[in-house]
Structures are given as C-alpha cells and as structure tokens.
Subunit: 139 residues, 2 copies
DNA sequence: GCTTGACCTTATAGTAACTAGAAGGTTCAT
DNA sequence: ATGAACCTTCTAGTTACTATAAGGTCAAGC
C-alpha cells in the first residue's frame, strides 16, 4: 500500500501521516525501491487509533503514550485511566471557561439594541468592566 | 510612559504589546529620542479593551474590528452585536464538541478497572469501536 | 566618572499541529 | 510516449504569542 491508500482507508491525510512520522508519533514506514512509503493493514489500524485519540482531544504527545500502552499489552490499565482522567479534567476546565465567556457575551448582548444607533453596550462593557465580573450594566 | 509601565497598568505584557503593534492591531507608538516607545493613559485603556475582548475569545483580527467600531462612535451597534452573536455560536459549537469528547471518555472509563490488570477497555475502544458505542468488553 | 541593574531596542526562532506550495521523480494506462 | 495521478523532500505559512540573544539607555549610588 502506498501512502494515499492508507490515507483513504484510515482517514488521515497523507501529509498528516508524513508529519506524524516526522515527529516520531508513528514508526518510519518501509520504502519501496523508488523510495515510496509502503504500508500494511496494521498501519491503517494504528492510524485510526491515532485519529480517534486525537479527536478526543489527546495531544500528539499523549497519543504517543497511548500508543505505547496499546502496543504493550502487559502494561496496567491504570495508566491509561489516569491519562483519560486528565483529559476529562482538561475538558471540564475548558468548558467552564467557555461557559463564562458565553455568559458574559450574552449579558453584554442583552442590552444592545443592535440597530443603527451608534451607542453599543457591548463595546462599553469591553471598555470598562472586567470579563469575569460583568458588573451590572443595566438599571 | 514606557512600555513596561503600560504593560503593568494594562496587564498586557510588553512583548505582547510589541507583537500587537507588529501585526497592526494597535497603532505604532511614538518614540522617545532614544527610540523607546512612549505611551499615554489612553493607550492603557485601549490595551485593556483588547485584553477583555481577547479573553472573551475574539481573535486578534476580530478585536481589530471591534477596536475600529469602538473608535468610530458613529457606527451602528448592529455590527458589534453580529460579531458577538458569531462568537456565541462558535462557543456553542466548541462546547458541544467538548461535551461529546467528555461523554465518550467517561463512557470508556466506566468499564476500565484502572488497576494492574493489563487489558484496558479505553484502549480497546480507541482501537476498534466507535467512540460512541464501545461494546461491552469485560464480563 | 563609572558601574550596576533595570529597562528598552531589534531580530530570530520556538511553540502545537498541521496545511499548502514548489520542484521534481514514479507508475500506469492509453 | 505522454499525461494523469501519484509519490518524494523541503520550505514556509497558520495563530497568538513567548523566549532568547545581543545590544543600547537610564537613574542611582559610590
């Protein structure tokens, strides 16, 4: 299999596969006589694994760990669970942050008539109050 | 005021201020005879505005628009509200994505004993099953 | 007058995780 | 044998900074 084929079968673009190889996430592929990278069915699985882990927000580095754990079946499952727990904590942090942004924005928007009049409470909010304690603008 | 002073007063690091200038987000500062950047109180306000907008997740480019809108008081508030609405939509998208990651991860973790035993449902879930329906592996 | 330390300047490169493009070689079907 | 589709490497661009290097400036103290 050439790189394009694995790319199609795994869903990971060829450029990304080369990139993963270059940063050491996946092992360097064997080469054909012409220098083309050659892959087997197993590589498709690996790449799918990588893709799923990435889509769950694991960093490329973390995926590297996960991959090592996956390959070494004698390793404990505790390590993996810890990694997953960290990820969930990251997600929680990020979600809280986004929720706060959203609230602030909505709060600001509530008082904006959004028409042709030039004065805008959103801009005034950005100019004067902190994002974390959006002092009551109305009343 | 030198850059360090504005940095302290606005909360935006000097390096970041120079960066903002270099990418055209803020106007180039006047220079002292020695070539130092010189700022006034108004610049502190501008920088604070920028910082708040960035903390609400507006991109540097968007902050540029917001800044233009802020400076031009004759502009309608509708444009600003539209920008804010887009931001909220972005946030909603991102939150939904994170929520899905979180669910999948939690689902996978539920079946992981997390001890010394080597088999790990999380890895198996990443490897084979779609994240959303991780077939029961233990039992 | 001179040194010390804090401050300032520019330019370059590094971060994460790719993505795009250039310039060129290979394979295969017609 | 020619053209399309594929492959190769290398370089640079993306976002929003942050870090480092190498050097100039300023105010205070001795």
């Amino acid at each position: 299999m050439n790189i394009g084929t694995v790319a199609r079968q795994s869903g990971v673009p060829s450029k990304t596969i080369r990139y993963y190889e270059s940063v050491g996430l996946i092992d360097p592929a064997d080469r054909s006589s012409a220098g083309y990278r050659v892959y087997g069915r197993h590589d498709v699985e690996t790449l799918r694994f990588v893709q799923r882990a990435r889509s769950l927000g694991f960093s490329v580095d973390e995926v590297g760990n996960l991959l090592a754990l996956w390959r070494d079946r004698s390793r404990s499952s505790g390590e993996v669970k810890t990694l997953a727990r960290h990820r969930v904590a990251d997600i929680d942090r990020k979600m809280a942050e986004l929720a706060e942004m959203r609230d602030t924005l909505l709060h600001l928007m509530e008082h904006c008539h959004g028409d042709e009049r030039p004065d805008c409470p959103i801009l005034q909010g950005l100019a004067g109050r902190t994002a974390t304690e959006p002092t009551v603008l109305e009343s």
